[in-house]
Structure formats: C-alpha cells, structure tokens
C-alpha cells in the first residue's frame, strides 16, 4: 500500500459518513487537498511521499468520522444538554423495573427486556424532543417555576380539608362515610370492616400517618408555604403511607409470619379493594421517591464558605 492508496482509503472512509449528495464533491476536493499537503510534506522532508508520511498527515486530520463531522455536522440523537435528564429517567426506569421484577408484573418479557423497552422508549421521547426544538427554536423553552416550597395558604387549607374529609374520614369510619357521601342511597354493609382489621396495628399506623399528613398541611398553612422540613416530612409521610397501603394489599403470611387479615367483611369488597390499595400505595411510594430526589437535589443558592482552620 503506497501513500496514494492510504489517502484514497481515508477519503473513501470520510465520504461514507457524509450525506449521499455531498460525498463525491467533498471526496474529490479532499483528495486534491490531501495530495497538496502530502506533496508539501515530502518536499520539506526532501524525499518521495511514502505510506508512513501519509499516515502521519492523516493522523493530524483526525479519524474519518471526525473529519466528516467538520464537513457535515449531524445532530446528536439525544441532545448533550438532555444527557443528565436522560440518565435520571433511565435510573428511575431501572428502579421501577427492579420493583416490578419482584412481582409477576414484568410478565413474559422479563425484567431485562422490560428495561430495554423502557430505555428504547426514553431514547425515542428524548430524540423527538431534541428534533422538535431544532425544528422550532424557542419551542419547549424554559418557563419560570415557583419552586418546590410553593404552596399558598389557601391551597394548604384545601389540601388539609381534603385529606381530613377523604382519606381520614373514609378510613376511620367507612360506613358513615358512604352514608354521608351518598346520602343513604347506597348500602353500607359492603364497606364494613372486620373486627380483626379494626383493631390491627396496621390500621392504627395508617390512621396515624393520615392524621400527620393533615397536620403537615395545617403547618404549611400556618407558615404560609413549605419549608425544607415539610419537604422531608412529605417524603416520610407519603412513603410510609404508601408502604402501609401496599401492606393492606399484600398477604400477611410471608411478611409477618401470621395469617392474612381481611380488611372488609365482604369477600367481594376485598377482591375489588385489594388491587386498589396496592396501586395507590405503589403510586404514593413512587411519588415519595420523586420528592426525595427533589429534596436531595434542592438548590439553595448560597456562597460556599470554606471551613476555617481550628
């Protein structure tokens, strides 16, 4: 292989990375330019061009893909500025798939296949997002946010009231709740609790968490907004509540080594309610994990003070 063969090979490889319409034109010019450069190099060295001289010249030009990139820049599939969020979402997908793999929900695809599907879906979403931004500059632009502590008094009072009425009241006295909400038009026997569940520690713990949640909203209303401690309190309360609701849906034997305690006296009600308890609990756990991530990455601009020597 002589110097011309080396240059020909390089030009061919550069052209392969270019759009079809540009290939011949760029390749023709690049070959002429490299020929000039090589001739000058040979003249300076005082000898005929050889393979080593051509390779040295091309090393300075960079890999064919890099050289082609200077002639025609292709957009990245995922914008470099989106890399951080892509990795975060990928990590979240891995956690969810790992949790699902502990159940039978991963199905026939299996956890590995499900994770690959998630990664593929994320890649498509981020690629479309980048494509849309390039197509419509200014679209999907930044908008100012209120910050994670934002919760005006009115909203906090509404959240507290809603928590007291819906989950607290409903959970504390389901029959009275149905009677009041449906003005006595529906039978209440379907939501009658079993004696064992009524007196269980699970119910006491769940009630405690629900009341604490309402108390947290009350505190936010008094303070006129969230604080870092309410952020972490929300993580603990929602996470704990989620786990307790999942426990409502899970059979007790493998967890506590004792017989499962049905929530309702009616078998039909238990059949309907069990997956709802599980789904709501899992959703609350996911929300708590997301809130924990936000708290962990909370930005509180302040000067970085160096520790003074003792």
């Amino acid at each position: 292989m002589n110097a011309d063969d080396v240059i020909e090979s390089y030009v061919r490889d550069v052209a392969r990375y270019l759009p079809r319409g540009k290939r011949n034109d760029v390749a023709f010019e690049l070959r002429a330019l490299l020929g000039d450069e090589l001739a000058a190099k040979a003249q300076a060295a005082g000898r005929a061009p050889d393979k080593a001289m051509a390779l040295e010249l091309l090393t300075g030009f960079g890999r064919p893909a890099e050289a082609a990139g200077r002639y025609h820049q292709r957009p990245a599939v995922i914008d470099p500025t989106d890399t951080h969020h892509f990795l975060i979402w990928s990590l979240a997908a891995a956690v969810i798939v790992a949790v699902l793999a502990r159940t039978s929900w991963a199905g026939a695809v299996g956890a590995g296949g499900l994770f690959l599907q998630c990664l593929g879906a994320l890649a498509v979403v981020f690629a479309l997002k980048g494509w849309w931004r390039r197509r419509r500059p200014g679209a999907l632009g930044w908008r100012p946010g209120r910050g994670q502590d934002w919760m005006p008094r009115g909203l906090a009072v509404l959240a507290m009231t809603a928590t007291l009425i819906f989950p607290v009241f409903m959970y504390a006295a389901p029959q009275t709740f149905v009677q009041v909400m449906f003005v006595g038009t529906l039978p209440t026997s379907g939501v009658a609790l079993t004696e064992a569940f009524s007196q269980s520690g699970l119910r006491v713990a769940t009630m405690t968490f629900l009341v604490l949640l309402a108390a947290m909203y009350a505190a936010i209303a008094v303070q006129g907004g969230g604080r870092p401690w309410t952020g972490w309190a929300s993580v603990v309360l929602h996470g704990g509540l989620g786990l307790l609701l999942v426990a409502h849906a899970a059979p007790a034997e493998p967890l506590a080594g004792r017989e499962s305690v049905p929530v309702f006296q009616s078998a039909g009600s238990n059949t309907v309610a069990t997956p709802i308890f599980g789904a709501v609990g899992a959703m609350l756990v996911l929300c708590a994990l997301y809130d924990a991530y936000r708290e962990w990455w909370r930005v509180s601009p302040a000067p970085a003070l160096e520790k003074r020597p003792d």
Binding site: E29, E37, G60, Y71
Partner: protein, 110 residues
C-alpha cells in the same frame, strides 16, 4: 500552564478565523495556497479546520468556488459580493473590538 495558555490562544484565534480567511480571499485561492498565505501572514491554521470552513462559508453564501482542472485538479475559492460586504462589516467590527480591548487592557474609561 503552557496548556492553559494554548487553550486561551486557540479560543482567541477561533473568533477571528473567519475574518482572517475572508481577508485572504480577495484573490482566488485553493485550499493549500490559502493555508500557506495565512501561515505567512502569522495565522497558521490546521488543515482539518480550514478546509471544512471554506465549504461552510460557501454554503453560507459568502464565497464562490470553481474547479480548475488544467493541471492538478484544484478548487479555487474567492469572495463573492456578499462575502465582500461581510468582510467590510467584520473588519469594522474587529477594529472596534480592538479599540475596546485596548481601552480595557490599558485600564482607561470609555
């Protein structure tokens, strides 16, 4: 430290690369001759940077090019009317920047 100096110098030169190239293309030049002309003028540019830049400037409508195949086939570039206008505008902007920078570096108030 020397590496840091080089990074700063590279950044500085990157900003004036287009102006330097346009300034040498009042007369037709092919790639290698242009690189030589720039090097002789004190502005050496890597071949891998210069040649794609010429194509980009042509795509942007600032240069015209034609092949000369009488001897070794070579593509000659020169300024077109839009390139002349851009060269004049960039020259004026450059001189203004030099005045500003001189003022900043000498610590004078504008």
């Amino acid at each position: 430290m020397a590496d840091r100096d080089n990074i700063g110098l590279t950044e500085l030169r990157r900003g004036v690369l287009v102006l330097a190239v346009l300034s040498r293309l009042r007369t037709p030049q092919y790639g290698y001759s242009l690189r030589q002309a720039l090097a002789e003028g004190g502005m050496p540019i890597e071949e891998g940077t210069l040649y794609p830049l010429l194509r980009r400037l042509e795509t942007q409508g600032l240069l015209a090019s034609e092949w000369n195949t009488e001897h070794t086939p070579r593509r000659y570039y020169r300024l077109n009317a839009e390139g002349e206008r851009m060269l004049a505008a960039l020259t004026e902007a450059w001189r203004d920047q030099v005045r500003v920078m001189d003022g900043l570096l000498d610590g004078r108030r504008r």
